[in-house]
Amino acid sequence: MVRFAAHRLGILVLSLVGASVLVFGALTLLPGSPAQVILGTQATPQSVHHLTVQLGLDKPLWQQYFDWLHGMVTGALGTSYVSQLPIGTQIWQALQVTGPLVLLGLVIGLVIAIPLGLFGALLQGRATGAVLGAIGQVGLAVPTFVGGTLLIIVFAVEFHVLPASGFPEWSHPGSALKSLLLPAISLGVVEGGIISRYLRTSVLDLLQSDYLRTARMKGLSMGQALRRHGLRNAMLPLVTVGGLELAGLIVGAIVVENVFTLPGIGTLLLTSVNNRDLLVAQDIVMFVSGTVLVLNLLVDLSYRLLDPRLAGRS
């Protein structure tokens, strides 16, 4: 297990380094000087030169890279050229929207997925089971931005029960949650669809499994056998999927925030891309990829811990 963890940690570091080189390279290797790109074609040579020095772009490439890495690690991300705000603060504020949104989305996804997958499998062969399976299939094909738009049409435009866009401060927790509800649902529907498919498959495998039959042979009722043997075994794939889908949710949030104009990470990323605020874009891309890669690592590790068959191997 320790060897495996070390091995996976090594891969994580390599992945992070790889991602940082790519992200850094994307900015640096742009045609023309970055300062020129940021300021646009109308800028005077003086202001371009001024910005180049201010951004440290006159230093050698490797030094720029390590300065940037150093900033990422210590949190000293510098100041956005466009908004003149500290980048760290901007990201932190955006996280306060995106974080809860993603968690709420995951909860909604699980609330949708668990009954769909479980009963879809248990009732397999009957009409209800087929319908539940079909709902999962349909759910995962609804793009978040389409689902979000539909939800706005129904709940905001037609019935005026929930806000279509915007986000108040967390100092008003009630209305803040209300603003997150529709976006979280549109995220949750897709993830719920995906997770329900995995769950359904693993429950079907479980129902056909010999060890469940052995448990029944010992005299356990179906309910007891499912609780004592089924749950543990069905949990394993669910952990993997849940973790991977959490990563999917983070990326999905980028799109959904745009639909509902929520001031989260995704909106910040898009605004900075559109404003050519490349420093911010670079930091966010790096931050999100880092989060996703770390999540993948945690999933792999927890899986090893949970599955005795894998625990001993490296």
Binding site: I11, L14, S15, G18, A19, L22, V23, A26, L30, G125, G133, Q137, V138, A141, V142, P143, T144, F145, V146, T149, L150, I152, I153, V157, A164, I194, R197, Y198, T201, S202, L204, D205, Q208, S209, N233, L236, P237, T240, V241, L244, A247, V251, I254, V255, N258, V259, L270, V273, L278, A281, V285, V288, S289, V292, L293, D300, Y303, D307, R309, L310
Partner: protein
């Protein structure tokens, strides 16, 4: 006996569990559960196939004919509801929505195709190399795959668009690259299975060269799995591409891509919700179609591979 597919997107552990859990039951040949599954299978296959066929036909028709030119602006007929002249109405510039949707099908298929092409053109050979050569080369391929694996496609595409500027090509290539690891893994895992089989051992004993074995034995045997995976990737690529267009980072207006149509219609959500509905529905149907087709094929070929 178990046609139920195992999510292929999941990494090794999940596959390992399902692999051991599926087992020989009692000596029943044809239980009713099998029959039901067969019915479901044919439903996925038929429904998915029909939808995909419909999209392809629509895209082909749009090449030579649409009710109106997709880009023809008509200031007088802005935001008209559906009528005999404009079946699905017109948008904020008076462009015919149906015509734009039809042209959009072409863009959608094109982007999906390029993404899949990129992913397979790199992923399959790399997977074969990893399966054939255990040494430094194989290890290097695997490690690279590990590093790329799990990197979100959409994020890669956004980053690339930010760097190179928004364009359809950038988006498609970024999405394709992000899915290379999936193909490396699927190809390698299945190729290893074939390489371990007795007839390949025999062919090796006869002194057949590795790549001849790949051509004669491995490729034909893993083809079905690859096709299934391609269908699923197609749906994912379309989804990602539409999201990028929606965010304004992919195909740019005025080109009638569904994502950007939806984005533009959003401004008229209160007055004209139907304008948002059509492109949204189109994306949904196509994604559903390809994922159904993939599922149907997976069950038909008895392939354990789902998203």
């Amino acid at each position: 006996m178990s046609a139920q597919a195992e999510p292929a997107g999941a990494s090794g552990p999940a596959a390992a569990v399902a692999g051991t859990a599926g087992s020989a039951g009692p000596e029943v040949v044809g239980g009713p559960a099998v029959g039901t599954r067969r019915r479901v299978r044919s439903f996925s296959l038929v429904a998915g196939g029909l939808i995909v066929a419909l999209i392809i036909v629509t895209a082909l028709v749009a090449l030579i004919w649409t009710p109106y030119p997709a880009l023809a602006v008509d200031p007088a007929g802005r935001l008209a509801g559906s009528s005999g002249a404009h079946l699905l109405g017109t948008d904020q510039y008076g462009r015919d929505v149906l015509s734009r949707l039809m042209s959009g099908a072409r863009i959608t298929l094109y982007t999906g195709f390029i993404s899949v092409l990129v992913a397979t053109a790199v992923g399959i050979p790399a997977g074969l190399v990893a399966a054939l050569y255990g040494g430094v080369v194989g290890q290097a391929v695997l490690r690279l795959t590990d590093i790329l694996y799990g990197f979100p496609a959409l994020l890669a595409a956004i980053a690339l668009s930010a760097a190179l500027g928004a364009s359809t090509t950038t988006a498609m290539i970024a999405i394709g690259v992000a899915y290379i690891p999936v193909f490396v893994r699927v190809t390698r895992a299945n190729a290893l299975g074939v390489l371990a089989s007795e007839y390949v051992m025999a062919a090796r004993a006869y002194g057949r060269r590795p790549w001849a074995i790949v051509r004669r034995h491995v490729l034909p045997n893993i083809a079905t799995t690859i096709v299934v995976q391609m269908c699923l990737l197609f749906s994912l690529a379309i989804l990602a591409e539409a999201a990028l267009d929606y965010l304004g980072l992919g195909t740019r207006p005025p080109a009638p891509s569904w994502g950007s149509m939806l984005q533009q219609a959003q401004g008229y959500l209160h007055s004209d919700p139907a304008l948002s509905l059509w492109p949204g529905l189109a994306v949904f149907v196509v994604v559903l179609g390809f994922s159904l087709l993939g599922d149907g094929l997976a069950e038909l070929f008895d392939v354990r591979a789902r998203r």
